[in-house]
Assembly symmetry: C2
Homo-oligomer: 159 residues x 2
Amino acid sequence: MTRTETIVKMVLDRWDASIKNCGTLLNNLDDETLQKEIAPGKNRGIYLLGHLIAVHDDLLMLLGMGEKLYPQLQEPFLKHADKEITQIPSVVELRAFWANQCEVLKHKFSSLVLEAWFEKHTAVSTQEFVIEPHRNKLNIIITRTSHLQYHLGQLQLLN
Amino acid sequence: MTRTETIVKMVLDRWDASIKNCGTLLNNLDDETLQKEIAPGKNRGIYLLGHLIAVHDDLLMLLGMGEKLYPQLQEPFLKHADKEITQIPSVVELRAFWANQCEVLKHKFSSLVLEAWFEKHTAVSTQEFVIEPHRNKLNIIITRTSHLQYHLGQLQLLN
């Protein structure tokens, strides 16, 4: 196993484990529980679920892997805080979005050739990338795994 | 910048940012607030702080960087759940432990030569490491950053 293979495996393994843990937790929480706030006055489970899907849709864009799957989630789950927008998809719909998105991401990630993980992501310019080569696609996975874990710790409180 | 330099920077940058965010949050929470539960019936802030210090002490061991700084925290914050042990250090003491430990880790991490991050950690055998080279020291940073982010999301609820 080359150094590059090893490091890509390390980062993707952590992402996969976080996605899997989140999926298991979501399966353990019924629809009614996901409507509850994770703590008094804080975000509801349904909001965090929508937020994660919206952020992972952005990830597709950042990696240059195509269009967002659910652009309608950007407004309620990224641009607004919980309860600011009342018309949001149901928990049942969000669960289906989550499951489908995880499959799409899995497929796209496994299709990427190894070296492509070290290419620049779409939010960094070619000039910037010359002096900041760490702003690559693999780094997007590192930061988004971090984000997922942050909210996973919160969702866990509904369990 | 070599591939190895780039990837070590990516992983350590994420660790550093998580540690910094946690430090900022702790500074924003007063001692009384840290005594509160993050959600009704869940862990208290003081427990999560002690837990993080205990886990980061384990990290020193796993990286072969010396003995635990605060071995007395293993029992109340790793082997037992919150409120099972009543005699625990004060928030003031834990804040001092956290600050000192962050400095020690920072110093030890920056002293490590680049290639050493890809050596095996202490919980994996030499035989295992031959076929599983991803079980290296850098991977310990990846998994512990993930752990830190999980609890950081929870501590944030006290803010």
